[in-house]
Amino acid sequence: MPIQFNYGMDQEYWDWSPIVKRPVLHWPNGAKLAVCLLVDLGHYEWKPPAGAFDPPTHTPPHSMNPYPDYVTVTHREYGHRIGIFRMMEVFDRYRVRATVPMDAYTADNYPILVEECRRRGWEIIGHGVTQRQAITSLMSEAQEREYVEASIAALRRATGAAPAGWLGPEHSQSTRTPAILAEMGIRYCCDFPNDEQPYRIHTLNGELYALPCMIEIGDTMGHYNRKLPLQRWVQMVKETFDVMHADAAETGLLLAFRLHPWCVGQPYRIKYLEDIVGHMTRREDVWIATGSEIIDWYRTQPHASFRPERPAVQGEPL
């Protein structure tokens, strides 16, 4: 059988689109680089309910210890009690607002955290039910709908409004997830770690965009799990910012990445967060914004409706 394939992606949610072939993207007020800081408030439960999909990253030997895992569960709880307040102090000082993926358990059980986020103008977005119950293709469609609904309903109860954004626990998805999110009113999804600009996700109902997150430079993946020395991780994040800022002279770029209060909120790490935030706020042509602010702007731009054309046929079947 000849080895031959169709043009474009092997799925229909997003188009194949090399960055160099897209129209120039402009951010508001002449900014070159948009930055979105995702501060995760996710809950790690002692024991997920039977049948839940605990991501493989959470099970031995990858991360968590056998039940009952006092070490990991309480270490994560540190974020909700201590780490987040240290982060808030840094963000307040630099007048930067975060986008907070918050799971249903946190929204239902930590109303103080919800208030602290809201009064700072931080944006709360969907983050599943708990971090040890992820989305998976192993779920039925009905189970997945129920799951997304429960995540959204908890945030509506907590904040009075449904969230506009979404980040699945461990970026987990089934093949149905983008369609279900769009149908349930989610406007942007941070799961896709594959670009430096937002892009449109095609679904039958609703209007969904990808707000791509650079998963590799987050505090857990870039430093904690990988055991890259802390200072080297900080350098990696700053270098990312500097190179993207320079590249953004040609077209607007987006840098979104994840931070975890239980990780970067530790006493010996918090000054490095300050180092990073200080570095990013030093320039004037950088727009540090929430996910909704970025997507609300983006959807009005010609970039958002651009669909690449298949290039002139060359070297096609003889």
Partner: protein
Amino acid sequence: MRHIPLDRRIGYLPLNNRPRIQWPGNARVAFWVIPNVEHYEYVPAAGTGRQQVAHGNPDFPAPNIPVNVRRDYGSRVGFWRMLRVLDRHNIRCTVNINLAVLDHFPEERDAMVERNWDFCCHGVYNTRAEPKGLTVEQQRAFVQDSIACVKRTTGKQLKGFNVLSRATEELPDILAEHGIIYHADYFHDDQPTPINVTQGKLVSIPYGAEINDSVMTQRNRPWEADTFFEMAKDAFDRLYQEGAENGMVLCLPLHPWCSGYPYRINHLDRILDYVMSHDGVWQATADDIAEYYIANYYDEAVACIARIETSQRQLLAGRQR
């Protein structure tokens, strides 16, 4: 099919007793750069999937967003950022191509064809296991189809394969049968070496297992691109020194979803800057190196391997007496 047993594929050639290679222009080091231009399927076809484990994210049931969709960054963004750096240093690459990319992403294909890169077959998708698991006849068809696919989409003649863990016992014989001249799945040497095949001539071109940017994405490698620069520089320095006596090969395998990130790109630039600033570097493709080696050293190396085998047998016989 009769095939050469695996332990007879590569004859022993000790560093201190082998033909002296002189590269074109009297270069000390043949330097080949091999970007792996890949695609990981959104949902890998059933039964063909290879397990992909990247740091922090072992397998999820498909779609595996943090692992497979993350690789998509390479084609959308990373490839183009890498291309600018490669162009700045006038590097003519050998691309390790997942064949499906040639049809899926013609802009990438055209950029590579415009630059006159050479093509090495890296399977169909990185999420598929063939030729492993195929019968001998199916493997033959696979090699023929790979050659036809590269010809159809790029106009180029395919001359090499790098399929690593997807290689089979019979593969080298089948490659040689079909006019493939190099097989880059071996890590046993810093020079090309003959590969023993049932017919024709096939050589190994050294690939990079450790000097390989993808190593940085592995969970147990807690270092970054500045260290990678040091590794590549140190490797080059040593090979350059030894290359004054006997020409060596330095391979630089790259991945757009590794080196194309903003936090790694400048370190790639430094590696290329360093290597290309030396006289006596032959920046070549694997096709160039294999052809040159076959034309000038293959027969000599085969004869040398035979002599060494004889002398090893004599040493063993002496031990038994």
